[in-house]
Symmetry: C2
Subunit: 367 residues, 2 copies
């Protein structure tokens, strides 16, 4: 019922709780402090029209779920947004959003990008996927699309954060791409089924991209580009903010250069991105090994983990066969296990981390 | 007699003085402390062959002069090089080196630059010249040549610092360009007439470019490019170090990007360069006006200053006519007067600064 990013609404939710807030809006009583009569009447009308039960039913039929703060799948880093935190996220796809977001990087940039921008987005995305990182973007034309495709093409993990209901993906020309992302990756958004994007919704959506990820890379952006909003949100949230340089003569790089002059880190390849975002705060540092005991893994993840051999680095497809699951499902689990420190990607294949090997041997030897 | 950049030689010069050092080398006596017999013998042989009187005569005939520490024309900022300070500089051209160097920026980069690099070098050089700044470079093919030409083409001031004797400019394909620089700007170098460049001499020459200028801009440079040596020398000397970004896919920009990642400032146009190098330590800040009284100006400079009208911004050629001198001479004087705070460049023309106008009026009114 609340518009994404509504800070006053976020504060009421925090102070009153969802149930009491909905009751007050449905009662249509006097407005809460600090809100005009007109705005309050609008919210009450919206609440009267809203039908969360119907939305949830429709979503379930379309293969979506709704993830709220407090749920096991809720990415806790979104709480950094304070009162602008999403009230929840609609999610399409097999992977666990929380685990994927732990090792994710946003790649954003101009819709009307140059060939150079598309090339850099695709190359960075592929390189990040090959290093076990999840590529997050906005599903738009240009840099976003190239980033998603680059990750998908290298058997990688990617998340599209949309500014509309997931049942009517925008832009419509990306409907098939977004379906493909939902199959191999995740499609998420704040807005309920049926809602359309608006210019304002694109802008507030960007804060979710910034907050969800470890860092934001701007690939190409003119002055005043929306992707600079994402980058500045990332900066404010203490996330890494990065930019890919381009010719000084290119208007599509002018916004990136402005960002770099303002303190963002200059990156030219995936290794440099990972050097920054991977530097600190790893959930599972290599030296200490996985933090979640294998017994607590979900059965599907345990099955995929069990399909990894002690030697060699089979592809996701080979692992899927061993685990008797679909390749897309194997990819979802492998990047989850990557976030937990169990496995690593090596080129096109996957292998157990050294720490996992040690603990497997210890279990077998009965230690 | 000493090779440029010879720190031991520089120390002897400082401790003994030039006269005593030459006497000891000509005597061929026991070596000075800390130098091998072999190296000392080499230096003595070189001293015996040297004929400074002949060099100076040849230089004078070729229109060169020799400027030493302590001379009025010596650029004091070269003293920042300590014992690696040049023992002196050979100079071709009309302008005063000291005054020109006060407001100068180095533009350096790859010899085998791309069209983009050449374009950026020429555009930056023209923009700097139009803002009254002197463009210093190394006279080489590629970025250097484009920078010199860009400054010359916009009626600007440029200095070529060579790694050889000024009578045999290198590369020979730039002989005419270097003559043009000597006519409208300055050609300088540490090596006596007749000396050839060597790879080592190019490298040590770079410290002079870095020390002479307020800052160094690297336009294009591959990894391990010689222009990065200039940039790092500038960094060590506390000068501004700047880089022009390029495509992340271009090997010719890889060295610049490395420099930018190491803390150099990203610049995309002349205004951004001037914003940095002009920010502090101006010899003649606009507010306080010229520091040198007009009576102490050289007659040629006074004549050019007197040719500037109270209103309007005539071109250098028009000013030259008024001052009854050659256009190249007018350019030399105008950039000297610019360093002293008397005049400013406006587009293609020149005008008196506000402070000069005030003091002219005060003189006229007998204050």
């Amino acid at each position: 019922m609340l518009e994404p990013g509504d800070r006053a609404g976020g504060r009421w939710l925090r102070e009153l709780g969802a149930r009491a807030l909905v009751r007050r809006l449905l009662d249509g009583g006097p407005p809460l402090p600090g809100v005009s009569d007109k705005r309050w009447a609008g919210l009450c009308a919206r609440a009267a029209r809203a039908d969360p039960g119907r939305d949830l039913d429709a979503a379930r039929e379309a293969g979506m779920r709704f993830v709220c703060p407090g749920d096991a799948e809720w990415p806790a880093q979104l709480d950094d947004l304070g009162d602008a935190r999403p009230t929840g996220l609609w999610v399409r796809g097999r992977a666990g959003l929380r685990l994927w977001a732990l090792r994710s990087v946003a790649l954003v940039g101009a819709r009307a990008c140059t060939e150079y921008g598309a090339h850099m987005a695709a190359t960075l995305a592929a390189g990040l996927a090959e290093r076990g990182w999840v590529v997050v973007s906005g599903g738009a034309y240009g840099v976003d699309g190239a980033a998603h495709r680059g990750a998908l093409a290298s058997g990688g993990a990617t998340v599209a954060v949309l500014a509309c209901g997931l049942d009517r993906p925008y832009p419509s020309g990306h409907a098939r791409l977004i379906d493909r992302i939902a199959a191999q990756g995740l499609v998420v958004g704040e807005l309920p089924p049926g809602d359309h994007p608006t210019p304002g919704r694109f802008i507030v959506r960007n804060r979710v991209i910034a907050a969800l990820t470890r860092g934001t890379v701007v690939v190409e952006a003119a002055y005043r580009s929306g992707s600079l909003v994402t980058a500045r949100a990332a900066q404010r949230l203490g996330r890494h903010t990065m930019g890919v340089p381009g010719p000084a003569t290119s208007a599509r790089s002018a916004g990136v250069h402005e960002l770099l002059r303002g303190g963002a880190a200059l990156v030219t390849d995936a290794a440099e991105v990972v050097e920054l975002v991977g530097a600190i705060g790893e959930l599972a540092p290599r030296r200490s090994g996985p933090v979640l005991p294998r017994d607590l893994l979900e059965p599907a993840a345990r099955q995929v983990l069990a399909a990894l051999p002690a030697r060699g680095a089979p592809s996701a497809a080979e692992i899927a066969r061993g685990a008797r699951t679909a390749p897309d499902d194997a990819i979802a689990r492998l990047y989850e296990l990557r976030s937990l420190g169990y496995v690593e990607r090596h080129g096109d294949g996957w292998k157990l981390t050294r720490q996992t090997m040690i603990s497997v041997r210890a279990d077998r030897d009965g230690c």
